[in-house]
């Protein structure tokens, strides 16, 4: 239980006051010489158990009355259904708000979304608790100090399209608490417990937990969990929007997926239903009825005519009727003519150069144009850096001016795959350098690779790349910190990437027969290169789809400054000025960006209670279950209850203390002889 005036609790020993007074009274008894002890002894022997019980009850009620007064003066707080967590008024309260789209689910029977309910409850609670400082973390790197009451109206605490980074915000809270040496801190987390928001699988939680546990000051965690599912929720998403020319007209083929996933993330029901899907492009609205079946229904390549105009770039919106969660009822998309697939190839070995150029020149479809341009090592300065999507580099790692050019290319979003030089290679790039060649007596086949993400991920259809069928005879070692994407049985990396997230990859063997079967079993090499090209094309495309969050923030607030981006479409309600967190279509210098909620928001489930509770094991932690639309405050002053309890105790004490009915007449004292 929390008390607003915990210092009053120092008076709790006064609970023993009735006992002390009783003992003092016992000590202050009168001593009377007495003759008729035989009657006294008989009376004592007749003393009943009820009498003793009554005495103890009176004592107990008096102690309860004193306790009631002290606790009432201490201004106790009740925290919803869990009023058992101890603690006093915190010096610092840090509010971590999950503003992800799933928090905009609402209970059909009650007003207010989970986010609005949690925000209001937190504001009320913090206003009651009145901490010395109230800090807010809703997605930024650093907490912002706010008045507690302002939380409910803070634009930065409003709904966002991005997933919440709960561990990141906790890390920021930890950094702040540690750096500012705050006193007693209380971290309030309001979340619906979605797996993608909590990133429980990514590790780091143990370190975070240990870090909090080692803080010198006490940190309490209060989780306001809105983890009850809201059934009947549908989510719509555009999986692809591409232009096609047919008979002189242009068609936009839009693929839409409607997920029957409730707001909690669990699979929805299987019953059939028809959902009208509304397409809006340039003010033209088209409605298509989609028969739902199963968990997810896909409307593939739905054609939307664009007319014969010259403009090829545009944006649109897909929406479905309102349901319990409004945030996943619409999706924005943009489209444009695809950019040419230009790849620069720098190679020392002619054989390698031929293979790489060939791989880069084959477009994935006949409508696309692909070009692999050989760039001599001496001609890097004049290479087509601005239009290239990827750079395939076989030779010593770039250094000096060459390295600067490559770094600039990477910063623009280009992708680079380094292949090892046959000889030399003492240079270092991004902290990585080539090691020695390692020859295998027998061809080695990769046993481990990452099929879930990055360049060697499974295909869209779910099929794995035949990485395990490759045969590798020579690899060159790498010095430096890299993340392996594929490894040989002896642990030697075959394909790696830099851990900083930039598109820098290393392939440790060469596509030559004496080195590997990368060329003869060309599927893996082709997929590797084409995926890198695809990634490199994204920054060059006139229209991009990005998930709200850090990537969108970088894009929309990019190097040109956020003032250059213009919002063309988006939710009607006012949003904060935070870049990249809100869904919509943004434009700058003729380029379009559609920002939508991440895919995980539609697929991630709700974490089990015990899994989230386990994250705070060893810390002072309380979980309070909230419900969308709930009007009760989670923190209430309950001193009245203690006063009433005190009064009841006093009344009970008074009733028990009433003297029992005394004998109305004394025993017969008249002289018996005289009466006779």
């Amino acid at each position: 239980m929390t008390f607003l005036q915990p210092w009053v609790l120092a008076a709790l020993p006064l609970i023993g006051l009735p006992l002390i007074i009783h003992l003092i009274n016992q000590r202050r008894f009168q001593t009377v010489p007495w003759a008729a002890t035989m009657f006294l002894a008989a009376a004592k022997a007749l003393s009943s158990g009820y009498s003793r019980l009554r005495h103890w009850l009176i004592m107990l009620l008096r102690m309860l009355a004193v306790a009631g007064v002290i606790l009432a003066i201490g201004r106790p707080l009740s925290r919803g259904w869990l009023a058992l967590a101890g603690g006093a008024r915190p010096d610092t309260a840090v509010v971590i708000l999950d503003r992800s789209p799933s928090m905009q689910a609402r209970d059909p029977a009650a007003p207010g979304t989970k986010l609005a309910t949690g925000r209001r409850q937190l504001a009320d609670s913090l206003e009651t608790l009145a901490p010395s400082r109230c800090l807010y973390l809703g997605g930024g790197d650093r907490p912002v100090e706010i008045p507690p009451a302002a939380l409910d109206d803070l634009p930065e605490a409003g709904p966002a399209a991005a997933a919440a980074d709960i561990p990141g915000m906790l890390q920021a809270a930890y950094d702040h608490i540690r750096e500012n040496a705050a006193g007693t801190a209380e971290v309030w987390i309001c979340s619906d417990g979605r797996a993608n928001d909590w990133a429980i699988e990514e590790g780091g939680w143990a370190g975070l937990r240990d870090a909090f546990a080692k803080l010198p000051q006490q940190v309490r965690f209060q989780l306001l969990a809105f983890d009850d599912p809201v059934p009947g929720n549908l989510a719509v998403r555009v999986t692809e929007a591409r232009l096609e020319r047919r008979a002189g007209t242009r068609e936009l083929l839009v693929s839409v997926a409607v997920s029957r996933v409730d707001a909690a993330g669990a699979a929805g029901g299987e019953e059939a239903a028809t959902v009208p899907i509304r397409f809006e492009i340039d003010g033209v609205t088209t409605v298509v009825d989609l028969e739902l079946s199963g968990r997810e229904t896909i409307l593939a390549n739905h054609p939307l005519p664009l007319g014969r105009g010259e403009a090829v770039r545009g944006w649109g919106r897909v929406s479905i009727p309102a349901d319990p969660c409004a945030a996943d009822n619409e999706f924005y998309f943009v489209f444009d003519e695809p950019a040419p697939r230009v790849t620069m190839v720098v190679a020392d070995e002619a054989a390698v150069e031929r293979v790489l150029r060939l791989v880069a020149s084959i477009p994935p479809s006949k409508e696309r144009v692909a070009r692999g341009e050989l760039v001599p090592a001496s001609g890097l300065a004049t290479a087509p850096w601005d239009e290239a999507a990827a750079l395939l580099w076989q030779g010593p790692l770039p250094a000096g001016r060459d390295a600067e050019l490559v770094e600039a290319f990477l910063a623009r979003g280009g992708q680079v795959i380094f292949f090892p030089p046959e000889a030399g290679g003492g240079t270092t790039f991004a902290g990585v350098s080539w090691g020695d060649w390692l020859d295998f007596k027998e061809p080695q086949q990769p046993e481990q690779w990452r099929p879930d993400a990055d360049l060697l991920a499974n295909t869209v259809a779910g099929n794995a790349l035949p990485v395990g069928e490759l045969e590798v005879r020579r690899v060159r070692g790498l010095n430096g910190e890299v993340v392996p994407l594929a490894s040989l049985p002896d642990g030697s990396p075959l394909v790696t990437r830099l851990p900083d997230g930039r598109g820098v990859y290393f392939c440790t063997t060469l596509p030559r027969p004496q080195d590997s079967t990368l060329a003869s079993e060309g599927i893996v090499l082709y997929a590797l290169v084409q995926r890198a090209i695809e990634r490199g094309l994204e920054p060059l495309a006139g229209a991009r789809q990005v998930a709200a969050g850090p990537e969108a923030s970088l894009l929309t607030a990019g190097e040109q400054g956020e003032g250059r981006w213009r919002r063309l479409a988006g939710p009607s309600e006012p949003v904060s000025a935070e870049g990249g967190l809100h869904a919509g279509v943004y434009a700058r210098e003729g380029r379009l960006v559609a920002v939508n909620r991440p895919l995980a928001e539609d697929t991630a489930g709700i974490l089990a209670t015990e899994r989230i509770d386990g994250l705070f094991r060893g810390l002072s932690y309380t979980r309070i279950t909230g419900q969308a639309g709930q009007s009760d405050s989670i923190v209430q002053e309950i001193w009245r209850a203690f006063l009433i309890a005190m009064l009841l105790a006093l009344v009970g004490e008074g009733l028990l203390s009433l003297p029992r009915r005394r004998m109305t007449s004394r025993p017969p004292a008249a002289p018996l002889g005289a009466a006779a």
Binding site: Q26, M38, L40
Partner: protein, 311 residues
Amino acid sequence: MFSDRQPRAFLDPAVLARLAGVPLLSRRPMVGNVSGRHASPHRGSSVEFAEYRKYVPGDDLRRLDWRAFGRSDRYYVKEYEADTNLRLCLVLDTSGSMAYGSTGPVAGDSQPLTKIDYARRICGPLAYLASQQGDAVGVSCAAEEIVRTLPPRRSPAHLRLVFDVLEEARPQGTTGLPEVLHELAETVRQRALVVVVSDLFVPTEDLAGAFGHLKFRRHDVAVFHLLDPQEIGFQFQRPTRFLDLEGGGAIFADPVEIADRYHTAVNAYLEAIRQLVLESGIDYRRVLTDEPYEQVLARFLVGRAAGRGLR
């Protein structure tokens, strides 16, 4: 009579003067050694006619009733009651419980009137009255055993000794009244008026045996049962540590809490005493120490004179 001594605190001349008009009588024939005011089991020469008896040779011819001979032509001897003196045995309970007193202070003293004080006021006048009518007076102080005893004597000097014993009696020790009464029943050979002045804080069944023993020895038994009003009313308010005057330790109690049960115990005790009195036929007087002792004594003397002692 006692001009050479300090006046006894328990003797009030005015009270004695008022009580002197009522004789102290025995309810049973006494076997005395001198003539007195009490009936004797033997025939004597008093003026009170007893019976006619047939003349047998050897009878004093002066007692022959000639008128009866004239009417019936038979010889009858006229017999009269023999008056004799009595032996008054005062049994004063001097156990520790007799030191209790809660009623108003004794005149001229700041101490409350204790039961032993009251007992002296009962015994002193009785001794005086008995002595004045020629009876022998003795006293026994009884605690756990007989602390001090004076056998009955008729001399005025002996009365002074009795007063001394009464005055010097100090309450202490436990009560062994039943044992003391048994012992007296054995040691007082001749019939006597045994006056017990005590609070009787002993088991009633023991008392019944002792009184039965005295009755068996043909003693006339009278009991003054002294009770302090506080012992009956038990009017205490604060938690109290009751210190047993007979050395039985202390009992801590909240009087408010146990008053009802105390009164229950007192009632049961008094009811047992009542039964004892009814069964044994002793002359029982229950006395609250807030009553004037003169009234108590007057009631006692008048009751006996009228032959209305409780049986």
